[in-house]
């Protein structure tokens, strides 16, 4: 589903050039649950941004569903994102001015889905995430765990092919973190590909495979022997 060839990302200021990614080659198959680990500043988030089509690489190739997308314009990337990718962020990234219902509905609005279809889909995911009863509340009125459940609901409402989760448990306590991991596992078992960045080895084990990054390079890839139920 996802394949990169010698991916490079450079950040340049007037005086300094930083290599965030250096010849990264990764491959992620449909239905996999892959974790990316590494110390702070190793390029995890940069890799996620590129794989999530939130940014373009400086060099290299990126194939998404067989299409080379590394040179896509922002418009083309937006279209691809909208149709294929769901995001879950560490800091939830809900829009404070929108209610829970409206936050989850947002991707469908941008896809110009008719109102009746939107309503049906949003209600379905809100039920799945067990936050239907808070649909008219605003994000600041919810706990961290609840907010993350809303973020997951938003990520899956458009039925994306892949979910990119950037440290989804980073701002949560362990019980809420476990909850979110169970959700992601559940989605993966349903056929959704999951790509997750994490600092936690425990949570990394939820996936099939762990990719280790260091200083912008892939250093190891492990396959998990442990499976969670």
């Amino acid at each position: 589903m996802i394949r990169t060839n010698n991916l490079r990302k450079l950040y340049r200021t007037e005086e300094v050039e930083t290599t965030a990614l250096d010849n990264v080659n990764v491959e992620i198959k449909q239905g996999e649950f892959v974790s990316i680990m590494g110390p702070s500043g190793c390029g995890k988030s940069t890799l996620m941004n590129i794989l999530g089509l939130l940014d373009n690489p400086t060099d290299g190739e990126y194939f998404f569903n067989g299409m080379e997308v590394s040179k896509f314009s922002e418009r083309e990337r937006a279209k691809m994102r909208k149709e294929n990718i769901g995001f879950v962020f560490q800091s939830f990234n809900l829009i404070d001015e929108l209610t829970i219902y409206e936050n989850v509905e947002l991707p469908l609005l941008y896809m110009k889905m008719p109102a009746a279809d939107r309503k049906r889909k949003v209600n379905t995911v809100l039920e799945i995430m067990e936050i239907m009863h808070r649909r008219n509340h605003f994000p600041q009125q919810l706990s961290g765990g609840q907010q993350q459940r809303v973020a997951v609901a938003r990520a899956i409402v458009a039925e994306p092919k892949i979910i990119l989760a950037d440290e989804p448990t980073g701002n949560l306590d362990s019980s809420h973190g476990d909850e979110v991991m169970k959700l992601l596992t559940y989605l993966n078992e349903g056929g959704t590909t999951v790509l997750m960045v994490t600092h936690s080895p425990t949570y990394a084990d939820y996936g099939n495979r762990v990719i280790h990054l260091f200083d912008g390079k892939v250093v190891t890839e492990n396959f998990n022997q442990t499976f969670r139920v």
Partner: protein, 794 residues
């Protein structure tokens, strides 16, 4: 989707109340200015538009070419209109009017009223509907009058005035043959008593059949349908040429203007209600500038705060928003804010409209806005303002790459250069308006206080409408001079500030038509010179020692002497008229008097000629002591009543009359003051918003500096210096343009101030002070804040 955008817009406004209030207030002031100025301009443009035949009505005027200068003059010689109609078939009607004033009486009611003598076809041209009487025949006969409902009510109350008579000047009866509905304010005509032109005869008005004399007389032409007006205009001059001597051919050119332009003329000796067209352009520009200021505020404040919305923008892009969708969202938000500002602007307009009406003597009202056309214009203003204000922020806010804006530490100060440019532009507009205000006030002050050649603040002029006063002139003067507060008394046919224009041509003995002079004629008595403290430049003034002074002599002023090229005035004799007549009487010029301003200081001094008519004249000038003015006026009133019991006492102070000439400039100064105040207010709102945001953004930096030892003053200076830099740059940038434009305006005055450096210095100091005062509140607040609060999470 649109509904969703509006919902978000309202929620954002509620959430960021301070920022929203600043934006809405600034925009509303800008919009209120635009609405008010649109109303003013619309009012001015509507002058004379209510006449059905307006597109076919033209007013004749004269271009005077003298000494290489072209002067446009409204009065037209009285024989012109009938002569033009007789030979130009394209003219359907030619109508003459003559402005005058009378003592109007009915029973015990007596008032001085302006009147307009008009020909019987007047109401065929101009659409003044009749409430009573027959429009076609109302002014066919001499001594008939048509009045407005206002006049009817003033004199007759609820009675029907038709068939009743006014008495004019306690002499002649005039029958009221018609009552018209009240004239709208938007007419260039003055007065609402219309007297039949056929009343006038040669005895009353010698210039009735004279081609060389001008008074307060005007000519209007109604052209036949589908006539090319340029074609008719070319023929007008031929009418003058074929009826006058060669003297006139080079000096005068007869031409005409459409009725719609009369209100915007800037002619000499024009009784019409006029507004210089330049004023409208100035107002329109000011309105536009102020709106631009408000829009710049919106753009600056919105883009400055763009980092606050980065997260939201990143999320929206991450979940699939295209740039176009984001632009639509931000434009919708801009529309909501503009709409709220617009509603507030309507309220502000309502509050300001009475002040504007009083200042400009108009009858503007919000009710006038309620018409299909006006509502459409308002909607266009609303949409355009919202687009102007919202487009750039929408463009900027929707641009960033999602990965950049989703980073939590995205605190870059983007768009700084553009914001700085916009603030400089904003300040520049305010600075320009301040310079304009100072200049207009200084020039007006100069006009009002300039030495006009005599002590105007001590001159009281009694308007003499009663012939009995002239026949008892000597007695009247003696009675008045018994009062120790009255120093001098002098009769004349016109005085400075009297607005009496009587211009004739004079020829010099032994010289040809090329040397003929057009001179303002004033009859004076022996005391005229001393009454006004005038000096003779050469020769002598009229004196009782010389018996022939009243019949065989003239005195002229310096301006007239200057026109007598190659001739010594004191060795010359002149006569009125062209001099070709063998019976012309040439009179000696015995003296040249100093120049003085007879009319507004906006015009050059007229060449003048004085003839002696002792102890008679329409005006009696009294030089009075400045103490006890009220009791002195009372004394004059009682004394006048003894001599002239049948006429109400009528007078004016020369100083006040001259001040009234500059009413236009005074109003302009007040409007400049109002709008520059508003511009400064809007700019201050903008600075307040920017500085509050800037100090918030730099709170970490301020905290670190304080920990490292920076004083409060150093912090305040650091925060202020950016704004001070902008003030300095904007001043320097706008000074040349302001200098050019203000100099151009000042050059339209015959007497004007010099543009001084102090104007720029004062402007700079004002703009600096206002900016510092606005910025310092937030700067000091930020400087004294506890650094621990801003560095807590670092």
């Amino acid at each position: 989707m649109l509904l969703s955008y509006f919902k978000i817009a309202f929620r954002n406004i509620r959430r960021h109340k301070g920022h929203s209030a600043v934006n809405i207030l600034g925009l509303s002031v800008g919009l209120a200015c635009v609405i008010l100025i649109s109303m003013i301009i619309k009012n001015e443009l509507s002058y004379d538009q209510f006449h059905e035949k307006k597109d076919r009505i033209f007013r004749v005027f004269v271009e005077n070419n003298q000494d290489g200068k072209k002067v446009e003059s409204a009065p037209v010689m009285l024989p012109f209109a009938p002569a033009a109609k007789a030979v130009i078939p394209e003219i359907e009607e030619a109508v003459r009017t003559s402005q005058g004033g009378v003592l109007c009486s009915y029973n015990e009611k007596r008032f001085y009223e302006p009147i307009l003598y008009v020909e019987n076809k007047f109401f065929n041209l101009f659409s003044f509907p009749f409430a009573k009487g027959d429009k076609a025949r109302a002014l066919n006969n001499p001594n008939t009058v048509v009045i407005s409902q206002r006049i009817a009510e003033k004199y007759f109350g609820k009675e029907n005035p038709i068939g009743k008579s006014f008495v004019f000047d306690n002499k002649n009866a005039f029958i009221i043959t018609g009552v018209i509905y009240n004239l709208p304010l938007t007419t260039h005509l003055r007065g609402d008593i219309f007297v039949s032109f056929s009343t006038l005869n040669n005895e009353m008005l010698p210039r009735l059949n004279e081609w060389g004399n001008f008074g307060n007389d005007y000519a209007y032409l109604l052209l036949k349908p589908n006539t090319n007006s340029l074609f008719v205009e070319k023929k007008l001059n031929n009418v003058m040429i074929s009826n006058t001597s060669e003297y006139y051919h080079d000096r005068f050119r007869m031409t005409m203007q459409p009725l719609s332009e009369v209100h915007f003329s800037d002619f000499v000796n024009d009784d019409a209600r006029t507004t210089p067209q330049m004023i409208l352009y100035v107002f329109a520009l000011i309105g536009l500038f102020i709106l631009i200021l408000a829009v710049i505020n919106f753009i600056n404040l919105t883009t400055a705060r763009s980092s606050r919305r980065n997260k939201e923008i990143g999320i929206r892009k991450a979940v699939g928003a295209s740039r176009a969708q984001l632009i639509k969202q931000f434009l919708s938000e801009s529309f909501v804010i503009t709409l709220l500002a617009f509603l507030l602007a309507i309220g502000l307009t309502y509050l300001l409209v009475n002040y504007i009406n009083e200042l400009l003597r108009m009858e503007l009202s919000l009710a006038l806005l309620i018409s299909k056309e006006n509502i459409l214009v308002l909607l266009i203003i609303l949409v355009l303002t919202s687009l102007m204000a919202g487009f750039y922020p929408a463009f900027i806010l929707s641009k960033p790459i999602p990965s950049e804006v989703l980073k939590s530490s995205s605190g870059k100060r983007k768009g700084y250069k553009l914001r700085a440019s916009l603030v400089v532009f904003q300040f520049a507009i305010s600075v320009f308006l301040i310079i304009g205000t100072i200049t207009v006030f200084k020039q007006t002050n100069y006009l009002m206080n300039r030495d006009i050649g005599f002590p105007s603040d001590r001159m009281l002029v009694v308007v003499n409408n009663d012939p009995a006063i002239s026949s008892n002139g000597a007695v009247y003067k003696r009675l008045l001079l018994n009062n120790e507060n009255i120093e001098t008394a002098s009769f004349s046919s016109g005085t400075p500030g009297s607005n009496i224009a009587s211009v004739s041509n004079f020829s010099i003995e032994g010289k040809g038509e090329d040397d003929e002079l057009m001179l303002q004629v004033i009859n004076v008595d022996y005391d005229f010179l001393t009454a006004y403290n005038f000096k003779m430049k050469s020769g002598r003034f009229f004196s009782p020692e010389f018996a022939t002074d009243s019949t065989d002599t003239y005195v002229i002023n310096e301006a007239a002497a200057k026109k007598m090229i190659g001739v010594n005035p004191l060795q010359s004799r002149i006569t009125s008229g062209s001099g070709g007549d063998p019976d012309s009487k040439y009179c000696k010029i015995i003296g040249v008097m100093q120049n003085f301003n007879y009319r507004s200081l906006k015009k050059e001094i007229d060449p003048m000629i004085f003839k002696l008519k002792n102890n008679e004249g329409n005006f009696l000038t009294l030089k009075i002591k400045q103490e006890y003015i009220a009791s002195t006026v009372d004394f004059i009133k009682q004394t006048t009543a003894k001599i002239s019991p049948a006429y109400p006492f009528d007078f004016f102070f020369t100083r006040e009359r001259f001040e009234s000439y500059y009413r236009g400039e005074t109003v302009l100064g007040k409007m400049f003051l109002l709008f520059s105040g508003l511009a400064i207010f809007i700019s201050c709102i903008g600075i307040l918003g920017l500085v509050s945001f800037s100090t918030e953004q730099r709170s970490k930096e301020i905290g670190i500096r304080k920990v490292l030892g920076a004083s409060v003053q150093a912090i305040v200076f650091m925060l202020c210096q950016e704004f001070l830099k902008w003030v300095l740059i904007s001043n320097i940038l706008i000074w040349p343009l302001a200098y050019l434009l203000m100099t151009k305006w000042l050059n339209s005055f015959a007497y004007r101030i010099d543009f001084s450096v102090m104007t720029f210095v004062l402007t700079f100091l004002i703009s600096l002070f206002v900016t510092l005062a606005t910025v310092s509140f937030h700067a000091v607040k930020a400087a004294v804040a506890n650094p621990v609060d801003s560095l807590k999470y670092e």
